[in-house]
């Protein structure tokens, strides 16, 4: 179980930081740490895709946005008209539709948040398969540009569509109730539980990824990255593996998008922008393309600093510098973990 050791360190650090922050009365740090956690989930998924399967994606922010926007739009949709129909009544009885009081006392019928969640994930999976099938047949520059194009399309769609709030995005997104007494939202009272929930997801994501890497499927993925032709000759259906991994990493991004949107109470088109996608890529690059723990550290560190405003107006420039410097001098990342079974040989 040596491979799970870093996970225990992370859990310990998460708890320690929370205790320390609360004691120092700087609880507002928790908000940014929670947001960083959600962004880190995207980075973990991307690390799987780029580092281990070797497929670059310059449009992953698009999947984050699909999750966030779909969940926001669905959970905010007023289903009063629908609830009066026969199926609508059935839904209400099953609890799928909730009847609530809004601020002005009139009744509001909304979809249950888990329904929105499920629908958003299904939409993500559908789109990921649709895009992935043709895109993953491409290589190198072509793959990069195709994913960039995909991210751009999502950005333009959410920017130009009224349902998604256009340039203002969606706001006033309702809290996501997980259990009685705890929901994903931005309220101060729930800051600590939200922090732990987000980090629980990060740990689960890291756990799954570690498992995958040491499994037969993970070996197959690394083989595809190592030499795709030989992998095919050894009986690995490379197209299917690449596609499945692409979809899984898209789902990681989407889940992060959904919960972060509910936590923030809103989402804007900038979450789908190319700059966001580039940021995710740079975090994977800094951590070391194929280094899970490095990606997590980079994800947390860079996101937290950026959110706290430490980079000021140079925010985007910092990520640009990081990308260039890392790629020029340390293409295998700077957070090098010793003890990885294979020796690094410099270049891909």
């Amino acid at each position: 179980m040596k491979r799970y050791l870093p996970l225990f360190f992370i859990i310990a650090a998460v708890i320690a930081i929370q205790v320390w922050v609360t004691a120092c009365d700087k609880s507002f740090y928790l908000t940014q740490l929670t947001m960083s956690a959600y962004y880190t989930i995207v980075v973990i998924g991307l690390c799987m895709l780029m580092g281990y399967a070797g497929q670059i994606s310059l449009g992953h922010a698009g999947f984050f946005a699909i999750g966030g926007y779909c969940s926001a739009a669905l959970s905010g949709a007023d289903c009063t008209v629908f609830s009066h129909s026969a199926t609508g009544n059935l839904f209400v009885k099953l609890g799928l539709l909730m009847v609530k009081q809004d601020l002005y006392g009139s009744s509001l019928v909304q979809l249950h948040p888990w329904i929105c969640f499920g629908a958003a994930i299904l939409i993500t999976i559908f789109i990921a398969y649709l895009i992935g099938m043709p895109v993953l047949r491409l290589k190198g520059h072509y793959l990069a540009m195709a994913t960039l194009g995909f991210g751009s399309i999502i950005y333009k769609i959410v920017l130009g569509t009224k349902v998604f709030g256009g340039a203002d995005g969606l706001s006033g997104v309702s809290p996501f109730e997980i259990t009685k007494g705890f929901s994903i939202c931005g309220s101060m009272a729930m800051r600590v539980p939200n922090y732990y929930f987000a980090w629980l997801l990060v740990i689960l994501a890291a756990l799954f990824m570690q498992n995958l890497l040491h499994s037969r499927a993970g070996r197959a993925l690394r083989a595809i990255h190592g030499n795709e032709e030989a992998a095919n000759a050894m009986g690995i259906d490379t197209a299917r593996y690449k596609l499945n991994l692409f979809v899984i990493s898209a789902v990681f991004a989407s889940v992060a998008g959904i919960f972060l949107t509910h936590f923030n109470g809103g989402i804007g088109p900038s979450e789908a922008s190319t700059m966001k996608s580039v940021r995710y890529v740079s975090m994977v690059a800094v951590g070391g393309m194929a280094n899970l723990w490095g990606s997590i550290l980079a994800g947390i560190g860079l996101n937290f600093l950026s959110l706290r405003g430490y980079f000021g107006s140079f925010d985007e420039a910092v990520f640009g510098v990081i990308l260039v410097v890392i790629m020029l001098f340390a293409p295998n990342g700077i957070l090098f973990k010793p003890g990885i079974p294979w020796k690094r040989k410099g270049e891909n």
């Binding site: 799954f208 498992n211 995958l212 040491h214 499994s215 037969r216 499927a217 993970g218 070996r219 197959a220 690394r222 083989a223 990255h225 190592g226 030499n227 032709e229 030989a230 992998a231 095919n232 000759a233 050894m234 009986g235 690995i236 259906d237 490379t238 593996y241 499945n244 991994l245 899984i248 194929a290 079974p341 294979w342 020796k343 040989k345 891909n348």
Partner: protein
């Protein structure tokens, strides 16, 4: 019994007929060699059988199942494994991991099982690891298990590739110029290794330039020239065949 049957295979690239109406069979348990001057179409023929390219026309039947229309990875699943002329080991993986990938066709844990690390996979992983190590021992390289595959010497990399192909327990093993880049002593050892593999009951088809190797290990040899089979027979017959001699040495030395 004929394990592999190639019938009227055609493959051209533009105007060049790389493989032109080639037909032959490979008996189960035998070693068949394919030789011929450069540009004869040997590698193309190899790639056709392994599924790396598709034939323009003709059939390939393996173990009584047609395989000429199947994708590469499925052909591997059916029991044909291969090595590559310019060794294609997986970068950033150890030798053991490389060989374990060879076992992919005989194992079944999928991505879901991978994510969840179910107990069922533990047993399978252990088995894959043991068999991979066993194959490496057959080839005399168990000590290389944890070294980075690409840092090895060429001859050692060849052994790893062979172990990887064996790990899949193929019925038919395709060897693409296995002696390329080896010195005389290494070639001799390779000959012994091939004989040992044959003793395991595996049928072997090899493409080779090194005459001493081919003549010593093959039960039957096909000679390819300009995409066509110009001679077929036992090593002794091939050595005496005037057409073959002409193709290799020219007319003056018949």
């Amino acid at each position: 019994m004929d394990l592999l049957e190639v019938r009227k295979l055609h493959r051209s690239f533009g105007g060049l007929h790389a493989v032109n109406d080639v037909s032959f069979t490979v008996k189960k348990g035998s070693v068949k060699g394919i030789i011929g001057p450069n540009g004869a179409g040997k590698t193309t023929l190899f790639n056709l059988i392994a599924g790396a390219t598709k034939a323009d026309s003709g059939t390939i039947v393996f173990n009584e199942k047609p395989v000429h229309d199947k994708p590469c990875h499925e052909i591997a699943r059916l029991g044909i494994m291969r090595t590559f002329q310019n060794i294609k080991l997986f970068s950033k993986m150890t030798c053991l991991e490389n060989v374990m990938v060879g076992r992919h066709v005989k194992s079944k844990a999928g991505m879901a099982a991978g994510f969840l690390n179910t107990p069922a996979t533990w047993r399978e992983e252990k088995e894959i690891r043991e068999i991979a190590l066993a194959k490496m021992e057959i080839l005399g390289i168990p000590h290389l298990a944890d070294t980075d595959a690409q840092s090895l010497a060429f001859g050692q990399q060849r052994h790893v590739e062979l172990a990887r192909a064996l790990a899949g327990e193929p019925r038919l093993l395709l060897l693409d110029e296995p002696a390329a880049g080896l010195n005389m002593q290494e070639t001799e050892e390779l000959g012994k290794t091939i004989a040992a593999i044959k003793d395991l009951g595996i049928t072997i088809l090899l493409v080779e330039h090194d005459m001493s190797l081919v003549m010593s290990v093959s039960d039957e040899i096909n000679v390819l020239c300009f995409g066509q089979v110009i001679a077929q027979g036992s090593p002794r017959d091939i050595q005496k065949n005037p057409e073959v001699i002409r193709v290799y040495l020219g007319d003056d030395n018949a």
